[in-house]
C-alpha cells in the first residue's frame, strides 16, 4: 500500500512538472493533498489502536423509535505478550454503557452483566457480538440511525483508554467478518 503510494507520488511528480501554469499546479497540488487525507481517513475508519491492542470495526445496530437500549459489537486483537482486559466503555449517545453477556439456553434468552470485564489473551482475540459478550448502551438519548457514526471509548486494564467510532448498521445486521472463516460468533451456541 505504502510502496504503491510512493510510486504514485513519483509518477505524479513527473506529471506535476508537466503542468506549466501556477494555477494549474496549485489546483493539482490541492487535489492531491485532498486525496491523501481521504485515503488516511478511510484507512482509519475501521481500526483503532492503543499499545498492543487493536480494535476492529466497532459497530452497532439502528434502533426502533423510542428504544432505550442498543448493543455495541467489535473485535479486539491483542498483539502483546501479556493478557489484557476490556474493563469499561462509553458511547456518546448513551447515558451509560455496561458490558453484558447474552446466551440462549433451552429457548430462553439470558442476559447478565459481566463482572471484571472481557479478557483479551496475549496474541489472541476477543469478540463482542450480538449473541455473546457485547456492550450494552443504556438510556439512549436518541435512536441510532443506520449510516451514522457515534463516538465512544474503550478502556483496557493495561493498554488504557482508546477513542473509537461505532458505525451504525441495519436493525437486524449480523457481524460481517464471519464469512472470513474465523468461525462462530463469540463461541456461543444458539439452541432451542
Amino acid at each position: 500500500m505504502t510502496l504503491q503510494a510512493f510510486r504514485t507520488q513519483s509518477a505524479s511528480t513527473r506529471l506535476f512538472r508537466s503542468f506549466s501554469g501556477i494555477e494549474q499546479r496549485i489546483a493539482i497540488a490541492t487535489l492531491a493533498i485532498g486525496l491523501l487525507f481521504v485515503g488516511v481517513d478511510a484507512a482509519r475508519a475501521h481500526e483503532f489502536k492503543i499499545g498492543a491492542i487493536e480494535v476492529e470495526h466497532p459497530w452497532s445496530r439502528a434502533t426502533p423509535p423510542g428504544a432505550k437500549v442498543g448493543g455495541g459489537y467489535l473485535v479486539i486483537a491483542n498483539d502483546g505478550d501479556s493478557d489484557d482486559t476490556l474493563v469499561s466503555a462509553t458511547f456518546e449517545s448513551a447515558g451509560r454503557t455496561e458490558i453484558h453477556q447474552m446466551s440462549v439456553d433451552n429457548g430462553v434468552m439470558k442476559m447478565r452483566p459481566v463482572e471484571g470485564g472481557v479478557a483479551v489473551p496475549a496474541h489472541g482475540k476477543a469478540e463482542l457480538a450480538p449473541n455473546g459478550f457485547h456492550l450494552m448502551f443504556m438510556d439512549l438519548k436518541q435512536p441510532l440511525k443506520q449510516g451514522e457514526s457515534v463516538k465512544g471509548t474503550l478502556t483496557f486494564a493495561k493498554a488504557g483508554t482508546v477513542d473509537v467510532v461505532f458505525e451504525i448498521d441495519a436493525i437486524g445486521a449480523m457481524p460481517k467478518h464471519e464469512h472470513g472463516g474465523d468461525g462462530e460468533m463469540s463461541g456461543m451456541k444458539m439452541e432451542n
Binding site: 439502528a62 426502533p64 428504544a67 437500549v69 442498543g70 442476559m111 452483566p113
Partner: protein, 199 residues
C-alpha cells in the same frame, strides 16, 4: 454360564438406563421449543393492543397466528426477531394477510401500548404489540409456558431474561410449531407459509 447371564442382564440394564437417560436428556434439552400438538401450550389472548383497542385471539375468526414474547429494552433478540418477521412477511406476499403476528411484552411495567406502538413503527405495520397489567401478562405467559424474569443491572435498573421462541398457533389456537433464532430465512418463510395456508 450364570456369570455370563448376569453379565448379559447387567449389560441390558446399562443399555436401558443409558437409553432412557438419553431420551430424558433430549426431552429436557428441547423443552417447550419442540413441544408437539396436544401438550396444552397456548391459550386465548385478550390484552390492550398497539391498535388502541383490546386485542383478542377470539376476534381472529380462525386465522392462525405467530406470537413472540419480549420487551423493548432488549438490545438483540427482540429487534432481530421483529426484523426477521418483517422480512418474512414481505416474502410471504399476499399470504401474510392470512396470519397475524403478535408481540407480547414481558415488561409491562415499562412497555405501554403507546411506547410499543412507536417501537413497532420500525417493523411491519401488521405486527400487533400487546401489553397489560403484570397479572394479565403473567397469565398469558403461563399459558404459553413462557419464562421471564428481571435481572438487576447497575444503577438500580434491570433487564429481562425471557423465552425467545416464536410460537406458531393454528386456527384452532393449537401450537403447530415454532420459529427459532438460528433458522435461515427460507426455513422460517416455509413454516409461516404452511401456517398461513392452514388457516
Amino acid at each position: 454360564m450364570t456369570k455370563r447371564r448376569i453379565a448379559a442382564i447387567a449389560l441390558a440394564v446399562i443399555v436401558a438406563l443409558a437409553g432412557s437417560a438419553l431420551v430424558g436428556y433430549q426431552l429436557s434439552g428441547r423443552g417447550a421449543a419442540t413441544a408437539q400438538r396436544g401438550l396444552g401450550i397456548g391459550g386465548p389472548i385478550d390484552l390492550p393492543a398497539t391498535t388502541g383497542k383490546r386485542f383478542s385471539t377470539a376476534d381472529l375468526g380462525g386465522k392462525p397466528y405467530a406470537v413472540f414474547f419480549g420487551f423493548t429494552r432488549c438490545p438483540n433478540i427482540c429487534p432481530t426477531t421483529l426484523s426477521d418477521l418483517t422480512l418474512d412477511l414481505e416474502q410471504l406476499g399476499p399470504l401474510a394477510d392470512r396470519l397475524q403476528v403478535l408481540f407480547v411484552t414481558v415488561d409491562p411495567e415499562r412497555d405501554t401500548t403507546s411506547s410499543m406502538k412507536d417501537y413497532l413503527s420500525a417493523f411491519d405495520p401488521r405486527i400487533i404489540g400487546l401489553s397489560g397489567t403484570p397479572e394479565e401478562i403473567a397469565a398469558v405467559a403461563k399459558a404459553y409456558r413462557v419464562y421471564y424474569e428481571k435481572v438487576p443491572t447497575e444503577g438500580g435498573d434491570y433487564t429481562m431474561n425471557h423465552t425467545a421462541t416464536v410460537y406458531l398457533m393454528d386456527g384452532k389456537g393449537e401450537l403447530t410449531g415454532t420459529l427459532s433464532l438460528e433458522e435461515e430465512q427460507p426455513t422460517r418463510v416455509a413454516k409461516l407459509k404452511r401456517l398461513a395456508e392452514s388457516g
